[in-house]
């Protein structure tokens, strides 16, 4: 029972710190975090106008596909890039207080979820301009987001650990993520690639599966079951693996800071 209260307290702490981060970032700015919404709209409309012309799609599907893709991609990379420096940035706290390390990861996931909420506001507006009809199945996207967040959580927990020890890694991760952006169908449609190239590119790309289980329901489509299975399996195995690693190494982190 006491460990349950500990957990609840630690999650509350992570949420408080994460919200404070966002508040701090936009303090004294008039429209505050809605700058996120604005800059995301500009990005989506610029890419949308140019590439939309190139890839003439019926029913304005492209712009819907693009905006959902970019918005969630932004969330993925936000979590992973900040995950790399999660412990390094919390050095002061880690060296003074014995707060469980997952708090620092929850804090950044919460912070990025808040950013996501501001960005997702664009989506309904774009949906109105398209001819896509979405029904209740869109709520499956929430399940997808939960599953993806679990995957991002263990990945950034692990990245935070390794990057604390090896300080070159954040740069490596950042450039890998940049490449992944082009390898994942975000600004291009999956149907544009030849079947064989496409399939190998999708199947081994975790980001494809993660995006698929969130984006497809939002576009009124059913994601391929393999993407659900992939995400659930990596989520489960990844958490288990990370748990075992941290059981051994959590005490070392403070020495690496």
């Amino acid at each position: 029972m006491s460990s349950y209260f500990e957990l609840r307290k630690n999650i509350a702490l992570a949420i408080l710190l994460g919200s404070q981060d966002i508040k701090g970032r936009y303090r004294r700015s008039v429209i505050g975090p809605f700058w996120l919404t604005i800059s995301m709209s500009i990005l989506i409309s610029c890419i949308g106008i140019i590439f939309g012309q190139m890839f003439q799609t019926p029913d304005n599907t492209y712009i819907v596909f693009l905006s959902a893709g970019i918005i969630f991609w932004n969330f993925f990379t936000g979590v992973l890039n900040e995950g790399c420096i999660a412990f390094i940035n919390s050095e002061k706290i880690i060296r003074q207080l014995p707060i469980p390390l997952f708090v620092h990861i929850f804090r950044l996931i919460w912070r990025n979820l808040l950013v996501l909420i501001h960005n997702i506001l664009i989506f309904p507006m774009i949906l109105v301009f398209s001819d896509i009809d979405i029904g209740l199945e869109a709520f499956l996207a929430l399940l997808g987001l939960l599953l993806v967040s679990i995957n991002l959580a263990w990945t950034s927990m692990l990245l935070a650990l390794i990057c604390t020890r090896y300080r070159d890694l954040p740069q490596v991760i950042a450039s890998l993520l940049q490449v992944s952006f082009y390898l994942t169908p975000i600004i291009w449609l999956p149907s544009m690639l030849s079947e064989r190239l496409g399939q190998s590119l999708y199947f081994f790309n975790p980001f494809f599966h993660f995006l698929e289980i969130i984006r497809s329901p939002l576009m009124g489509q059913t994601p391929d079951p393999s993407s659900w299975v992939f995400s659930a399996a990596t989520g489960f195995l990844g958490c288990l693996f990370t748990f075992l690693i941290f059981k051994r190494l959590h005490g070392r982190v403070v020495y690496w800071l």
Binding site: R8, K9, A12, L13, L16, L17, Q20, K23, G24, R27, K92, I93, I94, R95, Q96, L97, P98, I99, R165, Y166, R167, D168, L169, V172, G251, V254, Y255, W256
Partner: protein, 246 residues
């Protein structure tokens, strides 16, 4: 019942230089069989604490003395769970709170009120507990309407008063301190002194690192004298202070 027991505990802190910290040198090391980089591959570690075995029981007030670098702060961090011993073990019973850096977590852009919640949460209080004590904290800090102003507008005295007022509202079983907390002008100093004594009354174990003989003699019943990470002497306050301070 609070108790701390150290069994042969040691702390070795690895020192990473720029070379051994990068992945590249690790890879080169692997490739070259470790010969080329013998100077960096032999990891340099600092033995901050060596083979400490002692126990602190309920009701004890322990002073830590020793020169700079003797390991006092490291020991305090070991006791509050920040460091896990690299060798040996530590067993502690009872909730530990450290008042080492009372300004930790204070966000200068946030208001005093927001900072009360932040600082409180870092000390392990939940929102309800903080809310219940909010008025008490605000009145104790004497910040008045400034409580809703960003902390960066505070004078350093006000800043410390805020940090002190939140940080001392805890009821730990084991309290760790690095020097005495004294803040503010004469009037506040007196209030703070009273608060500190109340805090000491309610804690079961105190571990206080200090360079002040007067403070140690006034507060502690037992003194641990550390030198180069080892215990040089451990005994009643009169005996050890006499040896240490002369």
């Amino acid at each position: 019942m609070a108790r701390i027991y150290l069994d042969n505990a040691a702390i070795e802190i690895p020192i990473f230089n720029a070379n051994s910290r990068s992945l590249k040198s690790k890879l080169i090391q692997l490739a070259s069989g470790g010969k080329l980089f013998t100077d960096t591959s032999g990891r340099i570690t600092v033995r901050a604490l060596e083979n400490l075995t002692f126990s602190i029981n309920d009701g004890e007030r322990v002073g830590l003395v020793g020169h700079n670098g003797a390991g006092k702060s490291t020991l305090l961090r070991l006791l509050n769970g920040v460091y896990t011993p690299t060798h040996g073990q530590i067993h502690s019973q009872g909730q530990v709170t450290s008042l080492i850096d009372i300004s930790l977590g204070i966000d200068h852009e946030a208001t005093g009120r927001e900072n009360i919640y932040l600082r409180g949460a870092l000390l392990g209080l939940n929102k309800k507990e903080i809310y219940a004590k909010l008025d008490e904290i605000i009145s104790f800090s004497e910040l008045g309407d400034f409580i809703d102003m960003p902390v960066r507008t505070y004078s350093s005295g006000m800043h410390l008063r805020l940090a002190f007022s939140v940080s001392t509202l805890i009821n730990p079983e084991i309290l760790l301190m690095d020097e005495w907390l004294s803040v503010g002008d004469e009037n506040f100093k007196h209030k703070a002194e009273v608060r500190m004594h109340e805090l000491l009354e309610s804690t079961k174990i105190l571990v206080l690192a200090s360079h002040s003989r007067q403070l140690i003699e006034k507060t502690c019943s037992r003194v641990l004298w550390l030198e180069h990470g080892k215990i040089k002497m451990d005994g009643p306050v009169e005996v050890v202070t006499k040896m240490y301070f002369g």
